[in-house]
Amino acid sequence: MATLATIFNRFMDASSVPGGFAEAAPRAVTRATSEDYRLRTLPNEDVYFFVKRIDNSRVERQADPTASANSWKVLGASCVSAALLIGLLLPSAYGLLASYQLHNLQAENQRLVTDRGKLELEEAKLVSPERLARLAKDQDFDDPKSENVVYLAPKNEGSLALNRQ
């Protein structure tokens, strides 16, 4: 049974040895006939892993003359996109806030109108003739007698402003 790695090795061997498949096949046959007593090789036993330590401490990135420009481009594009987004959303948000404010102002206006009406009603009640008469009676006030009522009759000489229209 051939594993995926074996098949891969075959492809690799075939591609790496000059002559390809035609030359690789006789070698296996030869080994099998000449060294039958030997154990078969384990698949991929000739593949070894080893770690090559690479020291990059002294490596420096090669200066990219376009990186800065690219960064600024990205930054600019981001800002423009954000500005566009904000610009698109701002009227709607502003309209929403304005609606709240408008409604509050209308409610405030209505409340003030109502309060003004209540105050006018209260004032009208306070100066009602019945109440004034009651207060006058409580304070021993009385209507003026006829002789106590004096009507101004200024002379027609311009020395005194008329007190009526």
Binding site: S99, H103, T114, L121, A124, K125, S128, S146, E147, Y151
Partner: protein
């Protein structure tokens, strides 16, 4: 890297990508379904949740008096409603609401249970609650309680002008008085707007569909100060005279503007009417309750006589020694007078004298002048339920009708009609149309629509009106109305007392409609006051004259009318003059106005010929001697000059220089005068001078 791990990860990624793709497709399809295919449905649902159509209140117009003080105004108040289906505990809710709103808890619980049973999601709990109740209920933050704004009518002056103003129903539609007659203009038309709310029910958008049209303000001709005095004095008089009802009108005679219109009993329009409450207290008596006017109507009779006969104020009228037989009816005067001058017939309110004058005027002329004065038809004032009174057509008069009508019976009139008739005398002979509305608010709030004044119609010659004024002054100075004499002002008037007919007993009772109608000042009247007390045992001079005095004194002061008399101290004899002016004494066969016409016709069948003592056959009267005046209330300091032998021009010059008033009879040279030369003159007294060639 493990070679087998990569395909596994890829496979998982591919599965995840497929699931995501399918999920995205589903979302997309759902989105399309919601946004496209079911757009209308969900838009409707969203609008139901977010959008509300709200009514924009249009407050009812304010009613002002002529000085700009509000008499009626509307304010928004809260009304409480609930959704019974959302109430967690009906019993607890009913108990809580009944305690806060002071309503019957059991009744509320029953309504809530009924609403729940019928799956009704709305129930009014209490409408137009007080601000205190609103604050208290809001403090509980009950989410199943909803407050709705409604408008409520307030009358800040309480009962002042209540009968005149009327009232409104729960929908703020006028149901009586000015509120009813001017409802079309006063009533506002509410607008409609649509609001869009967020989740917290904060309005984020609104759209007004219909603009509200607030009611138009109205300014009445009423002066609240005079109105208050009128109602106050009327109530005092009712209490003093034990009358049942009363009415009073104060009018400007020049233009017919009603300055006050009082009724007794009255009511407080701020308090809802209770079941079984008498409607009399809600009736505007001065316009809707006609009555037999009695002797005040003699003013009409005498005015007609001045214009249609040769009778003059000094003409002697036969008074039959207090007894007269007219078409088999025996008529007694309250005092026996052999004869009186025409002026004294009015001053002493002689029934027989008035009847004799009426007979000389004649039925046709008397009827014509009664109609001219506006009796028998409504005045057209902007008030609902106005009565036109009653005046029978001339063809329905029986023989004795002329006698009855001459002294104010067999017809009925309202207090307003009497005020209008008195205005004719006061303004020089013009019949004015009473008006109640001065201005209405223009659609432009800064402008006002001035109500046009109806053109006055001349019905009397100016000389007739002035003569009547002077004769009516005699009523106040030395007649039946001395208790109406004003301090500091000249005035004229006429008392009236009419017996009230009891239809059950079919007889006149000893209860009277006592009236006084007068004006002041005499030469340029600023006000006309008519007061009527119904169901009193006192005569007009005792019952209604003091009302005139109190109201006229206050009204003249409020209107800033200068005094035309020096102040004086009344003599102790004041008020002792005869005030008995009963207009229907011993009318055994009297026909009350409201009896069946058949009774009248039956009486007419037995009409005899007029009495041989008809005053129409009396010779022209010489200058009569004025009856001795027992009361000299006011001495002006002048003595009557001697006009004998002087020409008219000389008499005029001398009287003008002395400041005394003179009446003339005849032409040529002065041959006699009354009072005689050297007699001290009372305030307002005139000297009658007889001229002859």
């Amino acid at each position: 890297m493990d070679a087998r791990a990569e395909p596994l990860a890829n496979r998982r990624l591919r599965i995840l990508a497929r699931i995501s793709f399918v999920w995205g497709i589903l979302i997309l399809f759902r989105l399309v379904s919601l946004q496209v295919f079911r757009h209308d449905e969900f838009q409707r649902l969203a609008q139901q949740q977010q959008d509300r159509e709200v009514q924009i209140q249009a407050p009812r117009g304010v009613i002002f008096d002529r000085t700009g003080r509000p008499l009626a105004m509307s304010l928004p108040v809260d009304s409480v409603c609930i959704n019974p289906l959302r109430v967690p505990d009906l019993a607890l809710a009913a108990d809580l609401l009944s305690r806060i709103l002071e309503i019957n808890g059991d009744e509320l619980l029953g309504k809530m249970a009924s609403a729940v049973d019928n799956h009704r999601g709305f129930l009014w709990v209490k409408r137009k609650i007080t601000p205190e109740e609103s604050v208290k209920l809001r403090s509980y933050h009950l989410d199943w309680v909803e407050f709705r704004t409604e408008s409520r009518r307030f009358y800040p002056k309480d009962s002042v002008g209540a009968n005149l103003l009327g009232g409104v129903d729960h929908l703020e539609k006028g149901n009586a008085g000015i509120e009813l007659s001017l409802n079309e203009g006063l009533e506002g038309k509410p607008g409609v707007m649509r609001t869009t709310s967020d989740v917290k029910q904060r309005v984020i958008d609104l759209q007004i569909f219909t603009d509200p049209q607030p009611g138009k303000n109205v300014t009445l001709s009423i002066d609240e100060r005079i109105q208050h005095v009128a109602e106050h004095e009327l109530a005092i008089a009712i209490d003093r005279t034990h009358a049942k009802t009363g009415s009073l009108v104060v009018m400007d005679p020049k233009n017919g503007e009603v300055l006050a219109m009082a009724s007794y009993p009255s009511f407080d329009p701020n308090v809802p009417p209770t079941p079984g409450e008498s409607l009399v207290s809600h009736t505007n008596l001065p316009v809707s309750s006609p009555f037999e006017p009695g002797s005040v109507f003699k003013v009409v009779t005498l005015s007609a006589a001045l214009e249609t006969t040769h009778i003059r104020p000094g003409t002697i009228i036969n008074c039959g020694n207090g007894k007269m037989t007219l078409f088999k009816r025996v008529i007694h005067d309250h005092h026996s007078y052999a004869s009186l001058s025409m002026a004294d017939v009015l001053a002493k309110s002689s029934n027989i004298g008035a009847i004799n004058i009426g007979l000389r005027v004649g039925e046709q002329n008397l009827y014509e002048y009664v109609r001219r004065f506006g009796f028998g038809k409504s005045t057209g004032i902007a008030l609902p339920g106005e009565s036109s009174g009653r005046l029978r057509p001339l063809k329905q008069w029986i023989a004795s009708s002329i006698g009855s009508i001459a002294m104010g019976h067999e017809l009925s009139a309202t207090t307003l009609q009497l005020a209008r008739a008195c205005s004719v005398i006061a303004n020089g002979g013009m019949l004015v149309k009473p008006r109640m509305t001065l201005t209405r608010q223009h659609p432009d709030p800064k402008m006002e629509i001035i109500e046009p004044t109806a053109a006055a119609v001349r019905i009397l010659e100016p000389e007739t009106a002035i003569t009547m004024r002077h004769m009516m002054e005699g009523v106040v100075l030395h007649g039946t109305g001395t208790k109406s004499r004003l301090d500091g002002y000249t005035s004229g008037g006429k008392t009236g007392t009419a017996q009230i007919y009891d239809f059950k007993a079919r007889a006149y009772t000893h209860k009277y409609n006592s009236s006084f109608m007068g004006f002041a000042p005499l030469n340029n009247p600023a006000i006309v006051v008519v007061a009527t007390l119904n169901g009193t045992a006192l005569m007009g001079g005792d019952a209604a004259s003091p009302v005139f005095k109190a109201v006229a004194t206050a009204a003249l002061r409020y209107l800033d009318i200068p005094k035309d008399l020096p102040d004086f101290v009344a003599s102790p004899d004041d008020g002792k003059t005869e005030s008995n002016d009963l207009a229907i004494a011993d009318l055994a066969a009297g026909n009350p106005l409201d009896e069946e016409d058949a009774v009248m016709e039956a009486a007419a069948a037995n009409v005899p010929e007029p009495s041989s003592q008809s005053p129409a056959q009396l010779p022209p009267a010489p200058l009569q001697t004025r009856p001795a005046i027992s009361q000299v209330a006011l001495i002006t300091g002048h003595k009557a000059p001697n006009f004998n032998g002087k020409t008219l021009r000389a008499v005029l010059e001398q009287s003008a220089a002395l400041g005394v008033q003179v009446e003339f009879t005849g032409s040529g040279l002065a041959t006699g005068q009354q009072p005689p030369p050297g007699t001290p003159l009372r305030q307002g007294e005139r000297i009658r001078v007889q001229f002859a060639r």
